[in-house]
């Protein structure tokens, strides 16, 4: 597949935050998508990979117009999709499609397959046939309109009354008559279509079912009567009904049996070739997108941390997160030969992402400050301690704790000290470091967990904790958001390997 340079959709600094609807006690918003740049070029497939909660589905939904962007731009044809009003959004949604993850859930089971596939057509009063006339002429007739420049032309009418119908339409030229009237200044063409819209829609639905590997006999059945794979085919037929240019595939195979997955992927690839579609293929792991994606974007906590041509990314991952994902796929062909990298901890709360690099809390290659020379495991223990303080700071304080804090009593100091000594039990801290830790614990015991966390960050944090990395240009059409791209630092893979060797 050749990817041309025209972006069909250009996502620029996009942010989508979810706010709680409640009026009282509003929590900070969930930053599902937190500053994403991504161009999707005509005819290509972009694989969007990330664990659940990384914001990949939200990104897809924002592009389609199912979620409201908080900030940033989704540009298509020079227009900003996020600024569209309801009618413009409808127009946009006519030109894009979406296939959903769970075919059990995405089809209304009170409707027949025929109704489901025809629904998008009905919603847009399809077809209003676009007519192009050779030479200058006025077009009249019901269910037709003159084609705009650059628009797909459904009917081409010659001034001798000859009609050609676009191949994709289930309409034969015999069913269309064009009467040319030359009496006025400019000729007028009266177009009559003898086939009703309902019939054209029905035949279009038959055609779609055929394309996705189902048949006419399925038209009057209900979703209950189909298997998961067949239902997903129906979902695909529906998404393609309006001949979209761009389709978001939201984990289209992850709910299906492994045996069916490959067939659906092949179907999607065939359809792309036939119809010249552009795909955004969302998946939760890297193994599936390898076959279908031309480029892959790896998402973590609302950020696209790495982006590049699939083969190049697999062969030489630049971002530590990508390295860890690839290390989990045996035989992925990645240069990573060591043990599988297990990430420590769990992803941070998207309501309260880290201030610096989003991956800093779990990064196996995190940059360490030069002030102390500690073993990696001690650094991690210190990181974890900071997470403890931050979590405490965010947790709702009970009324009793609030009162204690107000009158200056020890807030759960006993538990805290135990946790801290457990964490740092078999680590040797230099005296300076030890006293910083002690001071922080005292602050936290006094109730000021924020200050405690801040103090640890000051003392033991690095650039990774302070700076949100911008996408670095990695050459070959690649970018990655990691400070280790800067020349002064060791490479990601070698750092991880060296640290793995350090640990027994």
């Amino acid at each position: 597949m050749t990817a041309r340079e025209d972006p069909v959709v250009s996502v620029q600094s996009l942010k989508t935050y979810y706010h709680d609807d409640s009026i009282v006690g509003a929590k900070p918003p969930v930053r599902a998508v937190d500053g994403v740049d991504l161009d999707i070029r005509e005819g290509e497939t972009v694989g969007l990979v990330g664990e659940s909660g990384s914001g990949k589905t939200t990104l897809g939904r924002t592009i389609i117009g199912l979620a409201d962007a908080t900030d940033g731009v989704v540009e298509a044809d020079g227009q900003d999709v996020t600024e569209f009003d309801a009618e413009q959004a409808r127009d946009w949604q006519r030109r894009v499609g979406m296939v959903f993850q769970d075919p059990e859930e995405s089809l209304n089971d009170r409707m027949t397959i025929g109704e489901i596939v025809q629904e998008p057509l009905k919603a847009h009063d399809w077809p209003v046939l676009t007519v192009a006339v050779e030479g200058d002429a006025t077009v009249r007739g019901s269910g037709v309109r003159p084609a705009e420049p650059d628009e797909t032309v459904d009917l081409t009418v010659g001034l001798d009354g000859d009609v050609t119908v676009r191949d994709e339409l289930p309409l034969s030229a015999d069913a269309v008559t064009a009467a040319v009237d030359r009496s006025g200044d400019a000729p007028t063409v009266d177009v009559t279509v003898e086939k009703s819209r309902a019939e054209i829609r029905r035949d279009r639905a038959f055609d779609l079912l055929d394309r996705v590997g189902l048949s006419e006999q399925h038209f009057y059945r209900y979703p209950h009567q189909f298997s998961g794979g067949q239902r997903q085919r129906i979902g695909i037929a529906r998404a393609l009904a309006l001949e979209p240019e761009f389709v978001v595939l939201d984990e289209p195979v992850s709910a299906l049996d492994v045996s069916v997955q490959a067939r659906i992927i092949n179907l999607l690839e065939d359809l792309q070739d036939e119809m010249g579609l552009t795909y955004l293929f969302i998946a939760h792991d890297l193994s599936i997108v390898r076959h279908i994606a031309d480029r892959v974007a790896v998402m973590y906590l609302g950020n696209v941390v790495e982006l590049g041509p699939t083969e190049s990314v697999y062969a030489d991952p630049h971002h530590p997160y990508t390295v860890s994902l690839l290390s989990a796929i045996p035989g992925s062909g990645s240069p990573w030969t060591g043990e599988r990298i297990t990430l420590r901890g769990s992803p941070p709360n998207p309501r309260d992402p880290p201030a610096g690099c989003p991956f800093a809390t779990r990064c196996p290659a995190k940059i360490r400050p030069d002030d102390y020379d500690l073993p990696e495991r001690t650094w991690r223990a210190l990181d974890e301690l900071r997470v403890v303080f931050r979590t405490r700071a965010r947790a709702e304080a009970s009324a009793a704790e609030t009162i204690k804090r107000l009158i200056g009593l020890d807030v759960a100091g006993q538990d805290l000290r135990e946790t801290v000594s457990d964490l740092l039990a078999d680590h040797d801290l230099p005296p300076a470091a030890q006293s910083t830790v002690d001071a922080a614990v005292e602050l936290a015991a006094g109730g000021d967990d924020d200050a405690a966390a801040e103090q640890l960050r000051e003392a033991f944090g690095s650039r990774c904790d302070r700076e949100h990395p911008e996408p670095y240009d990695g050459g070959e059409d690649r970018t990655s958001q990691c400070l280790r791209q800067e020349a002064e630092y060791d490479g990601v893979a070698e750092t991880i390997r060296a640290r793995q060797e350090d640990e027994p």
Binding site: D21, I23, M98, S106, R110, Y222
Partner: protein, 493 residues
């Protein structure tokens, strides 16, 4: 709601439906036969139907004081001339004994037999119409519907095997038939026996003088009162001194209780349907809109409904009926229309509460997102993708609320509020008879009381049946831990 109706169930359908249908209609063009049957059935009641439609028209014109009332009344008179086979005129039960035989009754039969025949004919006719409708549905399912299985088929099949639900359906059917055919069912008419009893005469056999005499109906009523024991009462299935047959006995005023009840069922049904229809309409639209837009819209509705719920319903009723007493609204159908409006105004909140949960649940389903993703309009999404999933709940709560409305109307009349006398209403019959419950005239309170209980139970049973048919998982609900949930969902009334 979205139970797993397996594809296997359509196999069973395929076997049953065509077979039964073809034994019923063994012709080449079953549809024609079906239409013919329908026309035949209609012919029996052309007159009544025409009178009814024209009467509605003239009432509307009169209420709106539009011109043309006279003209329409002309048509009304003409419509009355059309023959109606099941009318009191065709099978009369009112007549007199002339010493040797009954005069004026159907085929000279005794009044009770003539009346019994008419009642039986009416119910047979109604059954025939119902059977005809079922036949039509089967025909459609077999011949015209393109899909050979739909999720609704499973619901209907499950309902068919639900004894309690079928009992409810039967009771509701009897009740509705009584309401629809009320004028033909009573042994006499409201007009003759109650409203204008002193304008109508009655011929009877006077045993003392051994001769045929005439008397004003009103005076005959005075001599047929049920106010105690023995001579002072006309009990169920008895004749009074004037040769009139009273299937349910007489009221303390001497009027016929059966006629009173038959006509009273009409007003109960009309108020019930009207108020439930209105509140279902309001509740459904609000539930769908609130569930679709969520957030503040939904919150606003919660506030409004809480506000309405906080108003004391009974006080509101008393207040509004008093305030609006002399307006035209209160005049419509003896105040029944106003009652229905008030019931609807206070009742939609409960219905909306019950529907809100299911509606919110459906609104989270992914097919809603799918519909949004290709730009489907909100209204279509609500109608096509959400409404079908709450219609089940609508039927359940609607049916149960209807039972509740009937009991509420009866309760109001019992208290002397609500439908204004002399329009018959069941609750007023209970009220009129309460002094005599411990005497031989026990029937006055007991019969309408039992009927109210039966009808309300019937509506609730129907609701239960529909619920179990829609949601097969609730089958087990009667016995185990799901009980609370099931009861909670059933508490719509």
């Amino acid at each position: 709601m979205a139970g797993a109706h397996g594809p296997s169930s359509d196999a069973a359908d395929d076997e049953v439906t065509p077979e039964t249908a073809s034994t019923i209609l063994p012709t080449e063009s079953p549809t024609l036969v079906w239409v013919g049957l329908g026309a035949g059935l209609l012919a029996f009641e052309v007159g009544a139907l025409a009178t009814f439609l024209v009467a509605i028209l003239s009432d509307t014109l009169a209420a709106a004081s539009l011109p043309g009332v006279g003209f329409v009344e002309g048509i009304e008179a003409a419509a009355r001339q059309l023959p109606t086979l099941l009318s009191r005129e065709t099978v009369p039960n009112e007549g007199y004994w002339n010493g040797q035989r009954w005069v004026g009754t159907f085929l000279g039969l005794r009044p009770e037999v003539a009346w019994g025949i008419r009642v039986a004919l009416v119910y047979l006719y109604a059954l025939a119409v119902a059977g005809w409708a079922v036949l039509g549905y089967r025909l459609y399912r077999r011949e015209y519907r393109a899909a050979d299985w739909t999720p609704r088929d499973d619901v209907i099949d499950r309902f068919r095997n639900h004894g309690w639900g079928l009992f409810g359906l039967a009771v509701v059917f009897m009740f509705v038939v009584m309401a629809v055919f009320a004028p033909a069912l009573g042994p006499t008419t409201v007009d003759k026996n109650m409203r204008n009893s002193y304008d109508n005469e009655l011929t009877y056999w006077d045993a003392e003088t051994d001769s045929v005499e005439t008397i004003l109906v009103g005076e005959a009523n005075l001599a047929s009162q049920s106010r105690g024991d023995g001579e002072e009462r006309v009990g169920p299935m008895e004749y009074d001194d004037f040769g009139r047959f009273h299937p349910f006995g007489t009221l303390p005023t001497g009027r016929d209780l059966f006629t009173f009840i038959a006509v009273g069922s009409r007003i109960s049904l009309v108020i019930g349907l009207l108020s439930v229809g209105l509140s279902v309409g309001v509740a459904t639209s609000l539930a769908l809109i609130g569930a679709y837009y969520k957030g503040r819209v939904d919150l606003g509705m919660v506030l409004v409904s809480d506000g309405v719920m906080a108003m004391p319903q009974l006080l509101l009723l008393i207040m509004l009926t008093t305030v609006l007493k002399d307006t035209w609204v209160a005049g419509l159908y003896s105040g029944a229309f106003l009652l229905a409006l008030i019931f609807a105004f206070t009742g939609w909140t409960y219905m909306w509460r019950s529907l809100r949960g299911p509606a919110l649940q459906v609104s989270e389903r992914q097919w809603i997102d799918a519909a949004k993703s290709f730009g489907q309009r909100p209204r279509t999404i609500m109608r096509q993708h959400m409404l079908p999933y709450i219609t089940g709940y609508l039927l359940i709560y609607g049916s149960m609320t209807l039972g509740g409305a009937i009991i509420a109307i009866a309760g109001l009349s019992f208290l002397g509020l609500g439908v204004s006398p002399p329009t018959p209403e069941w609750g007023r019959a209970v009220n009129l008879g309460q002094e005599y419950v411990d005497t031989g005239s026990w029937h006055i309170s007991l019969i309408p009381g039992l009927l109210i209980t039966l009808v309300v139970t019937g509506f609730n049973a129907l609701g239960d049946g529909i619920r179990d048919a829609i949601d097969p998982r609730s089958d087990a609900a009667g016995s185990d831990a799901d009980d609370g949930a099931a009861a909670g969902r059933g508490g719509g009334a």
